[in-house]
Symmetry: C2
Subunit: 200 residues, 2 copies
């Protein structure tokens, strides 16, 4: 990590330290009642340093989620089958490491009063994944990535996966995340496929 390689390092700050402090405070006081100053104080760091490690106050909520989004984006390039199938497999694969345990921020979103922040931040976080899926689909279908043909199905499937995960995280007794996701989005993908490619 670039944070610990440099020549001068007066403290032992890290993104993880700040994220931990933020999540602690979110749980104690609720997301809205925690300011960035609070996070800085709890982490033993100045306000400026918080923003040098985090892009926004909400970053701590997305630690495990961003990683999964990135895994999904990377997996789209690989995989077998048509682009839609690759998207399904990528989403399933991305949440595989979670097993039956959701990332803490997702599981405690309600308790932290961060459900809205999570919901409102999702579009921006998911955009790169969406772009890669739309691009893959557009290449396969000789369409523009912005066309309805290439853009709608990825949005639909990714939205379904997110909704499934939110509900899954609330479930007391959970199956593995990958199972829940596949069961939800596989039929959606089939429907998109048959609508867009009726013959094959």
């Amino acid at each position: 990590m670039a944070a610990s390689r440099g020549p001068g390092r007066p403290r032992a700050s890290s993104a993880a330290t700040i994220h931990e402090a933020a999540l602690e405070l979110f749980l104690e006081r609720g997301y809205d009642a925690v300011s960035v100053d609070d996070i800085a104080r709890r982490a033993g760091v100045s306000r400026g340093t918080v923003f040098s490690y985090c892009d926004s106050k909400a970053d701590a909520l997305w630690v495990g989620l961003d990683a999964a989004i990135e895994r999904a984006g990377d997996a789209i390039a690989e995989g077998s089958g048509d682009a839609l199938q690759r998207l399904v497999d990528a989403l399933v694969h991305a949440v595989g490491p979670w097993g039956a345990t959701p990332p803490t921020a997702l599981r405690d979103a309600q308790a932290m009063g961060a459900a809205e922040a999570l919901r409102d931040g999702a579009p921006a976080r998911l955009q790169p994944l969406l772009d890669r899926a739309a691009l893959a689909l557009a290449l396969e279908r000789d369409a523009l990535p912005e066309s309805a043909d290439a853009a709608v199905a990825p949005v639909t499937i990714i939205a379904a996966a997110c909704a499934a995960l939110v509900a899954w995280a609330r479930t007391p007794a959970r199956p593995p995340a990958a199972e829940a996701v596949r069961a939800t989005i596989a039929p959606i993908a089939s429907a998109s496929r048959t609508r867009d490619h009726p013959a094959s």
Copy 2:
């Protein structure tokens, strides 16, 4: 309207005036380069007045869209068929008045540099509609509105409708919006129905 009933009414400000000023400025300079002060100046009112008519800077982007969302929410209560079919019909009905002409903010989102603002604001704007759809579905299925069974399908269908509309608004030669929406979400709804109610 409460705005014109009272004894004293020093000015004739209105939400429409402020929305017009905002959209003008967004088109001229781009969404991010326009401050609320700019909008207030252009509309000939003070900053405080802007926020007494608008909840946020982005409000002007949502004038036509919010109305459609509200139409859809109201239509869910009526309609025929199961709850999923009512949601489909409600969405189709909600964009009916648009015909083949998208709301200006949706059509000019790119030109205004407001595509991101629109995307990021969508979850909060769509939440009431989502809640009503999930509630209707939960009642029909004897499930909790937060359960996956009741929550996933509405998210999926509404997301598909939004994606379809965004792509539709970009299309040079447009069919009526209702057609585009129905063609996109009908198969998704069928897939959700057969998955959740395999027997019937």
